[in-house]
């Protein structure tokens, strides 16, 4: 009876050698082969989009209520672009499909550096700008992720996370479900974050951040 989401992490690593078909940007970049690294990332994006659309299509056609692309942007701007493109294709195909896009960190890493979506450079975007592109792509629910700073207190990190998230809630049209756990959203970096710290972050996000969900 509960709504069923299928969650998956856009994982660009599997497309690079030795696991995948394309040259590995992490090996090319230290050699100064920037042009080659970018070309490999661009090929990776195309294949990742195709795969994400294929998997999400199959899940939707067997009855899923929604798709959750989680930890988007973990491989930087190519990863974020692939997910935005996949979302746009899916929403054109199935307008009623719920697509939740959760981020991997507060800042889109410029692993390519020149990728754009709707004319906006992806590298360096913070949550309030990430959210605008998510809206344009057709995302239904957006999940910002704010990294915890490990040499600061839980209270400091919660305050910082709420500061980042609140403008998304106030300015965005989408429901905002921030990521609050295991090193993001004001919680400590731990496999099993302590309940006292998590409950404080959770409560602060609901009552001060006015989140739409977690």
């Amino acid at each position: 009876m509960l709504p069923i989401f299928y969650g998956a992490m856009p994982n660009l690593g599997v497309y690079s050698q030795p696991d995948g078909p394309f040259p590995n940007p992490a090996e090319l970049l230290p050699q100064g082969k920037i042009k080659e690294a970018r070309a490999a990332q661009e090929e990776t994006i195309e294949m990742a989009v195709r795969d994400m659309v294929s998997v999400a299509t199959s899940l939707y056609e067997v009855g899923a209520d929604g798709i959750n692309f989680d930890t988007t942007g973990a491989a930087g701007d190519p990863d974020f672009l692939a997910t935005l493109r996949a979302t746009r294709i899916l929403k054109e195909k199935y307008p009623e499909l719920c697509v939740e896009l959760g981020m991997s960190g507060e800042f889109v890493l410029g692993m390519h550096g020149e990728l754009k979506f709707e004319g906006v450079r992806l590298a360096g975007l913070y949550p309030h700008d990430q959210m605008k592109l998510a809206e344009k792509a057709g995302v239904t629910i957006f999940g910002p992720a704010i990294n915890s700073v490990t040499n600061k207190s839980c209270a400091w990190n919660v305050a910082r996370a709420v500061t980042f998230v609140k403008p998304c809630v106030e300015r965005g049209k989408l429901p905002i479900h921030a990521n609050i756990g295991m090193g993001v959203g004001g919680t400590p970096v731990a496999e099993y974050p302590p309940a006292d710290a998590v409950s404080r972050a959770s409560k602060a996000m609901a009552e001060i951040g006015r989140l739409d969900g977690l």
């Binding site: 989408l174 429901p175 099993y192 409950s199 409560k203 989140l211």
Partner: protein, 108 residues
Amino acid sequence: MGMAITHSIASGMGGVRTAGDLVGRMQMTRGMKIREAKEYVAGKLRVSVADLSDPVVMAEVRGDLDLGRIRSIPKFSKGIDAKFRIAELLGIEINCVKLFKKRVGRGF
């Protein structure tokens, strides 16, 4: 699960125990923000927004409207049966309900 339980107790609405799943469905299907989603669901259930998070009130409301409850009870709906009723009450399309109708070949 420890983290999920902590979140549920600290800031959750209560899921199927209350009206959390119904509010979630309005966010998912209509992209509503939480306040709008709560007001919509409260209107459909004819209760106040505060009642939506009250497990005592919602146990009665869900029982009266047969929307499924935390445990399956004889003569009350559960699973896809409850989803049919939820889709009808909220005026939304639920993917697996749509698929079910298609599979059994009925327009309903």
